[in-house]
């Protein structure tokens, strides 16, 4: 599928998706969302309201559908080719499965961090500028403007001091923790509204995990962050609201403190106490 040029519809959609003009304080809203991989139903009847500007975590045992949900919010799921969806996902009040939605514009608004750090096989500098070059290719930037974009992004992820002398070295040579921070940093110049994080710390050691968690907390308020995690302690430490999923369904969605202290459902209580999962 080759992307067409931005059309009037895309432009309209791009302005529609702008949270400034959005009427509600919801970043992502789903209604009766069902999702199938071939014949296997991975999500069923998901109704979620994810608030703008806070960190929401998603927990649940392996295969409960939390990553699948995350991957359908920026429609990266569609790469697989055998994914079928019913119901709606709205991002800033716009149904992202509408015909007139351009994936490029959608993904400009929604950045994603993957489970395994996946810097591109290029220099640190080029990694940071990659997304920016895609979306702002119309204007030529001077070297100094580019430098300031790179510095700004790397400062935000607390990586600048470590890598400022090796910006032209290959990004794949960094440690995993630094790679993951770089993967977060390269989203920022595109100026997304939402950051999706799919178990961003699962490939890192405890020290790296702590550093990346600190960074995520640092970004709180500037972006709407939806983070999938295996690690319950992490969800507890690093999120404001928490969603517990089981077998493709949402069991509970409450403020994090409440979910871990006074869970409403027995399944939630059993899971956070480690009786299964």
């Amino acid at each position: 599928m080759i992307q067409s040029q931005p059309t009037a519809a895309t432009q309209a959609m791009a302005s529609h998706i702008d949270p400034e003009t959005a009427t509600s304080d919801l970043a992502i809203r789903t209604q009766k969302l069902d999702l199938w991989y071939g014949t296997f139903q991975a999500l069923s009847q998901i109704d979620l309201n994810i608030k703008n500007g806070i960190i929401t975590s998603m927990i649940g045992p392996s295969g409960c559908g939390k990553s699948t949900f995350l991957r359908s919010v920026n429609r990266i799921n569609e790469r697989l080719g055998y994914v079928r969806i019913k119901g709606t996902i709205e991002v800033f009040d716009k149904d992202i499965y509408d015909q007139d939605v351009e994936l490029v514009q959608l993904r400009k608004q929604i950045g994603m961090v993957f489970q395994r750090p996946n810097p591109l096989p290029a220099s640190i500098r080029d990694n940071i500028l990659y997304g920016h070059r895609l979306h702002y290719s119309g204007k030529r930037l001077s070297r100094t403007e580019q430098d300031s974009i790179v510095e700004d992004a790397l400062r935000q992820v607390l990586l600048w001091d470590k890598v400022k002398d090796k910006l032209n070295k290959r990004a794949t040579g960094l440690s995993l923790e630094e790679q993951q921070k770089l993967c977060i940093a390269r989203l920022l110049p595109v100026q997304p509204q939402i950051l999706l994080m799919d178990e961003p710390c699962s490939a890192l050691d405890p020290k790296g995990t702590a550093a990346v968690e600190e960074l995520i907390w640092e970004l709180r308020g500037k972006y709407t962050i939806l983070i999938v995690t295996h690690n319950m302690a992490q969800a507890r430490r690093a999120s404001e609201e928490c969603i517990f999923m089981l077998m493709g369904k949402v069991v509970e969605h409450t403020p994090t403190d409440q979910l871990f202290v006074t869970p409403r459902h027995k399944e939630t209580a059993d899971y956070i106490e480690g009786r299964y999962g």
Binding site: I2, R107, L120
Partner: protein, 309 residues
């Protein structure tokens, strides 16, 4: 009681060599022979070619005449000259044009098979490409003679259609399948997480391929091109049939030329064994052997480098 007895028997038989032991050793030896024979044959061939060309190298060989004279006149009765410049120009021009034809074809095919086609379509395309690679070169030469030749005459209004253009196109089509195959391997070796990363950042299919996949696969793609060049230098029958076989430094694609390989193929049967002409042909052989060896080795090292990454 019996237990003790059997235990002592086991201890005593530690050095027993049963049938399986002998089978294992025999198979090991046969496999070793098979592995080493390829190397032995190559060395043997190189030694033979070198031996046959040696006499010329030490007697009639003149470096400047051999490499810089355009006159290949080994049968001149008064003063035979052995200059391969025109032959090198013939081989190089045909190979060069062949690459111009083959690179866009094979790269396009590799990108389609590797990045766009899925499932059955992809598998059947891959099989088809392998089949194309297996067409004998004499068949390609025949196509050059009987289809390309009149076509070129009709299209470009030239007297003869056996020339650089004909041979270049034929050779390009011949080299494209193997290049496609190697290039597709190189694209497939690019980890999928790079594509996912680029797509999630909002890259279009085109941008994913041209800004991420191809740069990441560039060594493998270069290896594919080099293998095509190696194939072009070594190809004999098709170029013998399609070039026109005239000793000539080409001024345009419509000039007939003669290739190094075709010269050996056409003349070797008519020379007296051990004569300077015979030995000069083997010297060309050494030269070709070295060129293709270096090209293939470079290509192999580059492709290997990709795999290790």
């Amino acid at each position: 009681m019996t237990q003790e007895l059997s235990r002592s028997v086991d201890l005593a038989s530690f050095d027993r060599r049963d049938k399986d032991w002998y089978i294992d050793k025999t198979i090991q030896f046969i496999v070793f022979l098979g592995g080493i024979s390829a190397i032995l044959f190559i060395i043997g061939i190189f030694a033979f070619v070198t031996k046959e060309g040696f006499g010329f190298l030490f007697e009639d060989f003149s470096f400047s005449e051999f490499f810089f004279s355009p006159w290949w006149e080994p049968t001149d009765e008064d003063e035979p000259t052995y200059g391969i410049l025109a032959l090198v120009a013939g081989t190089a021009s045909v190979t060069g044009l062949a690459m111009l034809v083959a690179i866009p074809f094979s790269l396009g095919a590799a990108i389609y098979i590797g990045e766009f086609a899925t499932g059955k379509k992809r598998e059947s395309l891959k099989v088809l490409v392998e089949l194309l690679a297996a067409i004998p070169s004499v068949v390609w030469g025949f196509i050059g003679l009987s289809i390309m030749n009149p076509l070129i005459i009709a299209l470009f209004d030239v007297p003869v259609g056996l020339n650089v253009l004909n041979a270049g196109v034929i050779l390009g089509l011949m080299a494209a399948p193997i290049m496609t195959s190697i290039a597709e391997d190189a694209l497939k070796a690019v980890p999928d997480r790079y594509r996912e990363a680029a797509e999630a950042l909002g890259a279009t299919r085109w941008q994913v391929i041209f800004k991420t996949v191809i740069p990441a696969a560039k060594n493998g793609l270069l290896g594919a091109v080099l293998l095509g060049v190696g194939r072009g230098f070594g190809e004999t029958m098709a170029v013998l049939m399609a070039t026109g076989h005239a000793i000539n430094i080409p001024g345009s694609v419509f000039d007939p030329v003669r290739a190094l390989t075709a010269t050996i193929a056409a003349e070797l049967g008519e020379t007296a064994v051990g004569s300077p002409h015979y030995e000069a042909l083997f010297t060309i052989g050494i030269f070709l052997f070295l060129i293709t060896f270096v090209i293939n080795l470079t290509a192999d090292l580059i492709v290997r480098g990709v795999r290790e990454q």
